[in-house]
């Protein structure tokens, strides 16, 4: 069964790539007749640099694939393996990949300007502004969700994950020193770095650091503040580099194992219930809450920013955007498929009858260990489970670092209107340390007070709302600037997405948030409820404003 599903995923993704994707390229975008790509037209050797599509694909994929496409699907198996898998396949193909592809191509046609700029141009100033706010909320919520998940992971077992992670960071720092400060070439330093990486795993698996999750929250708080204030070449860059090796190895080992393991899906039912207990332990209707659980892997608004921020300036030819934008997203879907396969097929080997009651991340890491071990017996289950845990934790913790950096910029940017009215407040918010602390305190604070099953959907919600603006922008773009005939191809998924996410968030606001106020004496719960509730509410309001603006522009015949 595992083999069939994995093969099916490959066939479906490749099939749609060559039929649907190619059709989009030739009929909708008409990339064959497109003007010369900005990378060549505006070539400056600095930002606009023509780059091979294979290099760009690798780069783009490594940028969009992180912990996101793993955690979501692992949570979603609570509905049974099929519903989640269908969303990962068809949500990806008809919404997520189109979203990435069109945002990349639109950016190319806009001379490499970002999707935020395009949205501002087509929908209006408000769309551009709301990008900033969504990103700010997203930064806080992603720190919260990943913080909660990682702290839980660190506190589990004998703390091997924690010790391995910190050794891994040490390896990254040494590698960084070797690469950036000594005369060693990239090859030699990489080999040394990988040896250190293996050593980190070996030592880490023997000697754990045992501490409660409360301790880890404190550590994570300081980690976020300190790591994000270091120069990039100390930790962030070399660890990101090492992370990419974890990703390739994890994907390769997992993909091969899933293909050759021949295992029935007996760990997870095909379908449990339409309202399985996923979000906050409450019965969550598959529709409309699935995008709040599976975000990256099926659809992620962040991708549009990555695509239009760097990739679009480097595409050698517009035709390459199919491979880079559409292709990379499908590959990420394949990664999510492996997650579902590993849990559905091998969860029982690793966790017995506790598959459904285990947390999402250990559910995946243990199953992954069992799966790789089943296919390649020389890789022990325990070791591969640790590997998977580090893989996810390291990506998650890198995100904690980077979102803090991004958040600092956003806080200053959003505070800009205050500059005239109250310079003092502006100076305060624009201060690097204040902005950093805002994100870290809010994020780690929420992680401490809340539960990841509550925080994760809020993060996904913010992410999906960005995706929703992008899809609406793409629909407008197709209608006004490309071929009106094909508008519905983008408009329907966009509207479907908008309705789904909005309904999902309203459900979340009505069902999940009030739970936190049952016992007003429980300060932690009340705090989570207030903060997440308010953030979600603001996002919903902005989202409604956005659709109104959109429909006004959509109806008007004015050519923008």
């Amino acid at each position: 069964m595992s083999t069939i599903i994995t093969l099916a995923a490959l066939v479906i993704y490749l099939g749609f790539y060559f039929t649907f994707g190619k059709k989009l390229q030739t009929n909708l975008l008409k990339s064959q007749d497109a003007p010369e790509a900005p990378s060549k037209r505006l070539s400056d050797g600095v930002d606009y640099v023509p780059t091979s599509k294979f290099v760009l694909f690798g780069h783009h994929f490594a940028s969009i694939a992180g912990a996101g496409p793993i955690v979501g699907p692992a949570m979603a198996v609570a509905w049974g393996w099929l519903p989640g898998l269908l969303w990962i396949w068809f949500g990806n193909i008809f919404i997520g990949a189109i979203h990435d592809y069109l945002s990349l191509t639109a950016s190319v046609r806009y001379d490499g300007r970002s999707v935020q700029f395009v949205a501002q141009d087509l929908i209006g100033k408000k769309a551009g502004k709301s990008f900033g706010w969504f990103i700010l909320f997203l930064c806080i919520l992603v720190v919260a969700a990943f913080g909660a998940i990682v702290a839980g992971q660190f506190a589990s077992g004998n703390g091997e994950v924690a010790s391995t992670f910190f050794l891994f960071c040490a390896a990254a720092i040494i590698l960084g020193y070797l690469m950036y400060k000594t005369k060693l070439g990239i090859g030699v330093s990489t080999v040394i770095g990988l040896v250190l990486l293996v050593a980190a795993f070996w030592i880490g698996s023997k000697a754990g650091i045992k501490a409660s999750s409360n301790v880890w929250y404190v550590v994570l708080f300081f980690y976020v503040v300190i790591a994000s204030s270091l120069p990039v070449s100390i930790l962030l860059q070399p660890r990101d580099y090492l992370n990419s090796f974890l990703l390739y190895f994890g994907l390769l080992a997992g993909g091969l194992a899933a293909l050759i393991a021949f295992k029935g899906f007996d760990s997870v039912p095909v379908f449990t219930s339409f309202s399985a207990k996923v979000i906050g332990g409450q019965p969550s209707p598959f529709w409309p809450t699935v995008p709040l659980v599976i975000a990256c892997g099926a659809l992620s608004g962040f991708h549009s920013l990555v695509a239009s921020g760097t990739s679009s300036k480097q595409l050698r030819d517009e035709k390459d955007s199919l491979f880079v934008g559409y292709g990379a997203m499908l590959t990420e879907g394949f990664l999510s498929t492996i997650v579902v396969v590993s849990i559905s097929g091998f969860g029982i080997l690793a966790l017995g009858d506790k598959v459904m009651s285990t947390g999402a991340l250990p559910r995946f890491t243990q199953s992954y260990g069992a799966m790789v071990n089943a296919a390649f017996p020389f890789m022990t289950q325990q070791f591969m489970a640790l590997f998977a845990a580090i893989w996810v934790s390291s990506f998650a913790l890198t995100t904690l670092d980077t979102t803090n950096r991004l958040g600092r910029y956003i806080v200053g940017e959003l505070a800009l209107p205050l500059k005239e009215k109250s310079p003092g407040a502006y100076e305060f918010l624009a201060n690097k340390w204040v902005a950093s602390a805002v994100i870290a305190v809010a994020g780690i604070g929420l992680a401490w007070t809340g539960n990841y099953t509550v925080l994760w959907p809020a993060f996904s919600g913010a992410n999906q709302l960005i995706a929703s603006i992008v899809m609406l922008t793409a629909a407008l773009w197709v209608k006004k600037k490309l071929n009106e005939k094909y508008t519905n191809l983008v408009l329907y998924p966009a509207i479907l997405l908008w309705i789904t996410v909005t309904a999902g968030l309203i459900w979340y606001e009505l069902v999940i948030i009030p739970l936190h106020f049952k016992d007003m004496a429980n300060v932690k719960n009340v705090t989570t409820g207030v903060v997440v509730g308010v953030i979600t509410l603001i996002m919903l309001v902005m989202n409604v404003v956005m659709i109104m603006q959109f429909s006004k522009n959509f109806k008007s015949e004015k050519v923008v």
């Binding site: 600095v46 780069h59 935020q116 070449s233 860059q237 921020g309 995100t399 980077t402 950096r405 940017e413």
Partner: protein
Amino acid sequence: MITFKNIRRVWDIFWETAFQVQRDKATEMVEFELKEMENIFVILLMGSFVGLPSPPAAMAMELIPYLEDEIRLMTVRADFAQDALAGLTGILDVD
């Protein structure tokens, strides 16, 4: 035709690509940092042209001939600064 030579070529291209991806992966943020530094350097030097204090324009003039690339970078960055969110997200791997 699948020949040994073709396979060999694909194999070479694959590794070449993989290495280039990893090379980019190892330097993307440092590259970004470098560009910002060069930008600031030029802004510091050219400041007197746009009303920033110091150093005297006269001193900047002596360096202008050698800073062609940097000055171009400065103009590119000035453009980039208006639309930086996505670029920053692309460099910092969130997600």
